[in-house]
Amino acid sequence: MSTQLPEVEVLTDFAVREHRSLWLDAWRRLKASRTAMLGLVIVAVFLLSAVGAHFFWNYDPKMDLDYNAKLRAPNLVSTPEKPTIHIFGTDKLGRDIFTRVVHGGWNSLRVGLVAVGISLIIGCLLGLFAGFFESFDMNFKEKLVLMSGLGLALGLLPAWIARQWFQVLLFGGLGAASVLLEKKLAHFKLTRLLFALAGMLLGGVSGLLVAPLVGLVCAVVGLMIGILLAKPVNGKAFSSITMRIMDIILSFPSYLLAIAIVAFLGPGLEKGMIAIGVVGIPIYARLARSAVLSVSQKEYVLASQSVGEGHGRILFKHVLPNILSPIIVQATMGLASAILSAAALGFLGLGAIPPEPEWGAMLGDSYKFLSSGAWWAVLFPGLAIVFSVLGFNLLGDGLRDALDPKMRAK
């Protein structure tokens, strides 16, 4: 007995594509690019070898010394005269260069990562806020925080001059007052004069308690602060002040500034990280700001604003995820240039303190022995720098193509 079962028809709607997330899409494009995968492999090899060496391969640079084996050319097989194998040769103190290159990776890559971390976090936050408040009006609470903060900060000057720290609070209050009274004074023409007088009195009277001249100076400073605080500043002013400060940092060629900072701080890996990190802040601030400016006019942001979402939620749930891709690309490229800067610092003797291994410092140590023909002592640490930097650059290039298909053509 057989019954004819109705054929189950599998419906395939070719118009509906299977759902793929943006990141999965990007990953597929990245995988398809041979150069990007090469970059990824290089980066992975360097990261794994550096981390592996640091945790699982004991090496004490202070004890590593063998004058009998100094400046030996690379040998791959063990011979009676040269029993130990040094595939990269040895340096001026008879240290195995291969060991030091692998261990040096930990220091060199760490400097790059921490430095980029510093510039990424600070720069992005500054750029996010600058761009956001340039395109959205601040609400009452934000204005209140900004103006009292500004009042407190400006109040530091007269407070410091007169050694009266309560003045900080007075000017903070003046800043808050300008927000609180904004509506009431909207039609009052002499607001600036009123605040100037108030500032002059606040500074002058408290300054007079110390000395007459202190009172005079504090009155003048208070007058100026009063004028500044009279009208609540808007987001545009905040943004342009932030960007002006960034411009000042950018007006130094970046690694010259890093070299100069460390020259004054004194050598050390941590100082190098901080210097390279600070110097990189403006790049991310500018990038984040311009990305926020372009995103914040998009319909989905306006929509979330019109349904009444808070500013914090809009900023971190709608704006931030949509500006991530240029920042990721920049951070990858930034890692490459941070490693280069770190190597430059090390080469000039401003990075790792000897005998700690670091690629740049190894080059700086060995290049003086060049005339004796010891090419291996400078070739291999240099190649390590070139390949790690190249890896991050290849990966960054590939990421840009993968994350922004419109740019792919270039």
Partner: protein
């Protein structure tokens, strides 16, 4: 137009003051007492006191609030920063700690060497970068284009100091073709006119001197030129690719103009603006890169001088050179902005 230039000039002033502030603050980064740092740890107390007096280190950094309490208004403004700034206005960069010579004087002597190196590097970068960029844009996805892209990526990945070392190893140590340091061989002299040796030797018709100077400068100039060359190549290529997709390029080819004319007369002119910006940015990094290149090649310019001063902890020199390079960087970028407005009529001046 004049108004635009004037406004751009004025807008540089606050940045310039900010730059002097940053450089002044360097001094505060020195751990411990700067006077002791200058003299070394075994300095006598009188010497330390003398240095503190001489450099104004006994004055407060920005404002003297104690003077105010005593009723001394001018004293209120008599601070280290104000003194530093007013000295700068008189082109006084302070004295070298070790040699007690004005920093500005040595700067004037050593700057031409760096300038010559930077100019030649920029010349090489433009000479190589722009034609290759154009060629690889016009033959997109060819083997030439692929090689160019990989080459330019490699160019920004090589540390210039390592490239310099490798050059010395190959051409000076093993092949012995080129000298590894300084500007001239001993015994060769060139009558100074501009202090740019290549130019001076040509001006005075001293061809032996020119050849010698060229042999000395070529290795450091090539090392210094790698990064700008790579970046200018990339920028020219991508800017040309943009322009080549425009309608007027298709029109130009459609009406039968040769590829050469289309590329150089129609495309390049329009593709050049972003390249100029990059040239401006690279000018600053060339001067900064000179610190590394000059160190390796013992080039007697300001870069080597800074390196020696960092090792000798001669802080006024480091401050002076950093300030000079930052100012040049600012001015070059100002020129780029202005030339941008001159070249592109679409940019409004107001």
């Amino acid at each position: 137009m004049a108004k635009y230039i004037l406004r751009r000039l004025i807008s540089v002033i606050p940045t310039l003051i900010g730059v002097t502030l940053v450089i002044f603050l360097f001094q505060r980064l020195i751990p411990g007492d700067p006077a002791v740092a200058m003299l070394g740890e075994h300095a006598t107390e009188e010497n330390v006191a003398r240095i503190r007096e001489q450099f104004g280190l006994n004055r407060p950094a920005f404002l003297d609030r104690d003077a105010l309490v005593e009723g001394d208004l001018p004293g209120f403004f008599d601070s280290q920063y104000v003194r530093y700034f007013s000295r700068l206005l008189r082109f006084d960069l302070g004295d070298s700690i070790h040699r007690r010579i004005p920093v500005a004087q040595t700067l004037k002597e050593r700057f031409p060497a760096t300038l010559e190196l930077a100019l030649l590097s920029m010349f090489i970068a433009l000479l190589v970068g722009i034609p290759i960029g154009i060629a690889s844009a016009s033959r997109r996805n060819s083997w030439l284009d692929g090689t160019t892209m990989i080459g330019s990526l490699l160019g920004v990945s090589i540390p210039i100091f390592w490239l310099g070392i490798m050059e010395i190893m190959l051409f000076s140590v093993f092949l012995k073709w080129l000298p590894s340091g300084s500007r001239l061989s001993p015994g060769v002299s060139i009558t100074p006119v501009t202090n740019l040796l290549l130019l001076d030797s040509l001006l005075t018709g001293n061809f032996a001197g020119f050849w010698d100077a060229l042999k000395h400068i070529i290795m450091p100039a090539v090392a210094l030129a790698t990064i700008p060359t790579a970046i200018i190549t990339r920028m020219t290529r991508s800017s040309m690719l943009d322009v080549l997709q425009e309608d007027y390029i298709r029109t130009a080819s459609a009406k039968g103009l040769s590829e050469r004319v289309v590329l150089y007369r129609h495309a390049l002119k329009n593709a050049f603006l972003p390249v100029i910006t990059i040239i401006g940015i690279q000018a600053g990094s060339l001067l900064a890169g000179a610190v590394l290149t000059e160190t390796i090649f013992s080039w007697p310019g300001i870069g080597k001088w800074v390196y020696d001063s960092i090792l000798g902890r001669d802080y006024p020199i480091v401050q002076g050179v950093t300030l000079l390079i930052a100012i040049i960087f600012l001015l070059v970028n100002l020129l780029v902005d202005i030339s941008y407005a001159l070249l592109d009529p679409r940019i409004s001046y107001d």
